[in-house]
Amino acid sequence: MTPFQVKDCALLARMSGLPPAINLRELRERIAACSENVLFHHFCETTLRGTFDNPDYRNDFAVWSKLYLGDRVLAERLGILDPYEFSSLGELRAATLEVIDERLGESTMIPWARPGDELYFMEATTVVFDTGIRISRPREFAAAIGAMTGGSVYYHFLEARRRPPSGKDDFTAWLLENDDGEKNRPYIEALARIDFYFHTLVHLRKELVRVLSALEETK
């Protein structure tokens, strides 16, 4: 059995090259034109920023709509989009544009942000480090995850879903690869039940530890 290698990661952000958006129509145009890396940054990599417990929304477009366009309806509709529910970033982009188009259709005036409150489009390179920590058995996961940094939790449980070919989180992929007679099935099912997108990394780590520890207790 190949041990699970615990990695950590950090982001190096850069400008996307797109002009900033000052109103809802420009937001639509930029989202339609941006690269998938930009979309991923504003929907998924946001979770690596800050460590606060109750962010209103998990993607930058919803936050900007609420804080700077002053459009709470749009913010709520964008805020509920879970990027991991879509099979591709292309589908996520289409769904996002659909929400914005619907709102533009409802609006008699295009909502604008004040100068200085524009939305800047960015992307990032993920830098991955080997922590040197290895996990050999499924029952070690709960304790090991409890000691992981937010970067490790993000890399293995969220970012992994973007990596081909599996599109699964790294814990599940390892459990599947090293499954001997379906013994890992309870772990895989427990991980699959976590509604992870709306968690902060701190909460997600707690939730992972909780569900995996619960399995050990029932044994």
């Binding site: 800050g50 800047y120 390179t125």
Partner: protein
């Protein structure tokens, strides 16, 4: 002050240092040259003072070079600096000629090291023209803009843009500070050094000495704003907020900073502040020398609440410093303060003296909020704004630039 990297382990943990060493192994032996225009004074020199030795300790062949120039050259570069930040400045053809001649003289001196370097990082506009002169360069050149060039005076930007466009990459502190350029533009916020004189822990005896030295009452809440006497820092608005709070709570206010003596605008602002303060013995307006780091450190530590009520702001490192001392910050809803102050978590963002007064009163009634936000603020800085994060991002972007990596994921 050269502090070995190991000294930071107790603050950031071993994992952070291990990551830096992993990056260092990937970059071992590469020749990195930083170039700026001053060895002492100013934020850039402060950064290079710690960054160069740490890069060396991590195995890079790093050096720091400074360009020389006469007073006329620095008058021109000051005008360029102001122009890039939006001031309407006239730079005559003769001025640009002085700039170019000085660049050429410096290039002659620095030529061997610049031609041989694997990475050259040029800080700010003063040495930006060196790239054009270095036709036999073999390494990658990166332009680091420490200032906000988002709304430059166009004639100045037009000339400077022609100098910085050929760079391989540039670095800005925040997206709001950047301008479109035809190469990758990395975003690296500034940082503070937790072991510097301005940020290190201070023994209580030193705190008490500063407290008694300025006649501050230990039994009453203290509000502190550290900043230059500059209208954009709104010190008069801070006095107005203090007065609104003073009616109902026995607070004291310290407004401390430098920059008034050689700056006519600063002098006028200071006079306005003194007039607003009147003869209120609980308002302490302190004009501090540029090296009063320990005094600033002590005042931030003595504060109950830190204020930074700017109406325009760069990144706002005084906010970072205050948060590192475990204090909630009431800051203007502008610039980099927005990145650091999160309502109810690390402090409050405000737009008016009334808003500041309201939040001060709220916090004074919620001591547990002061403690909780202060703790969160310190951890937020530990996670995001210490020099270890800063150097990790520099090393990463050097790796990405040197290897011309286009992938969105890089394993170290």
């Amino acid at each position: 002050m050269n502090v070995p990297l190991g000294a930071y382990e107790g603050i950031v943990g071993p994992a952070v240092l291990r990551e830096l060493r992993q990056l260092g192994e990937k970059l071992a032996g590469i020749r990195v040259v930083h170039v700026n225009s001053t060895r002492e004074g100013g934020g850039v020199a402060e950064i290079l003072e710690w960054m160069t030795p740490i890069m060396k300790e991590l195995g890079l062949d790093a050096s720091w070079e400074v360009i020389n120039g006469n007073s006329r050259f620095f008058e021109i570069t000051k005008a360029i600096h102001n122009g890039l930040q939006g001031a309407n400045v006239e730079i005559p053809v003769k001025g640009w000629k002085t700039y170019e001649d000085t660049s050429a003289r410096n290039f002659k001196r620095l030529r061997p090291i610049l031609e041989e370097a694997d990475i050259v990082i040029i800080h700010d506009p003063q040495p930006a023209n060196l790239l054009r002169l270095c036709t036999r360069r073999k390494g990658k050149w990166i332009w680091r803009a420490h200032i906000d060039i988002s709304r430059p005076f166009r004639p100045v930007w037009k000339v400077l843009r022609s100098m910085v466009e050929p760079y391989d990459a540039s670095i800005f502190s925040m997206p709001q500070f950047a301008r479109p350029l035809p190469h990758p533009q990395f975003l690296v916020p500034p940082s503070i050094d937790p072991l510097s004189e301005k940020n290190r822990d201070l023994p209580s005896a030193e705190l008490e000495a500063v407290r008694s030295g300025y006649g501050l009452d230990p039994s009453r809440p203290l509000l502190v704003q550290i900043s230059r006497f500059d209208r954009f820092k709104d010190p008069v608005g801070v006095v107005a907020a203090y007065r609104m709070v003073r009616k109902v709570a026995p607070v004291q206010l310290v407004l401390a900073g430098g920059g008034a003596t050689d700056d006519p605008e600063g002098k006028a602002v200071l006079e306005d502040v003194l007039e607003a303060a009147g003869n209120d013995p609980d308002i302490h307006v302190l004009l501090l020398p540029p090296d009063a780091h320990k005094t600033i450190n002590a005042l931030q530590r003595l504060a109950t609440i830190i204020l930074q009520k700017s109406t325009r702001e760069g990144f706002g490192l005084t906010v970072t410093e205050g948060m590192w001392k475990g204090k909630p910050v009431i800051g203007g809803d502008v610039g980099g303060i927005r990145l650091q102050v999160v309502n109810h978590h690390t402090g409050f963002l405000v737009n008016t003296p009334e808003g500041a007064a309201h939040r001060i009163r709220y916090l004074l009634h919620h001591q547990e909020g002061i403690d909780r936000m202060g703790t969160t603020a310190r951890e937020f800085v530990r996670e995001n704004y210490l020099l270890t994060r800063h150097i990790r991002e520099y090393l990463t972007l050097m790796l990405v630039t040197l290897r011309d990596i286009k992938a969105n994921i890089v394993s170290v």
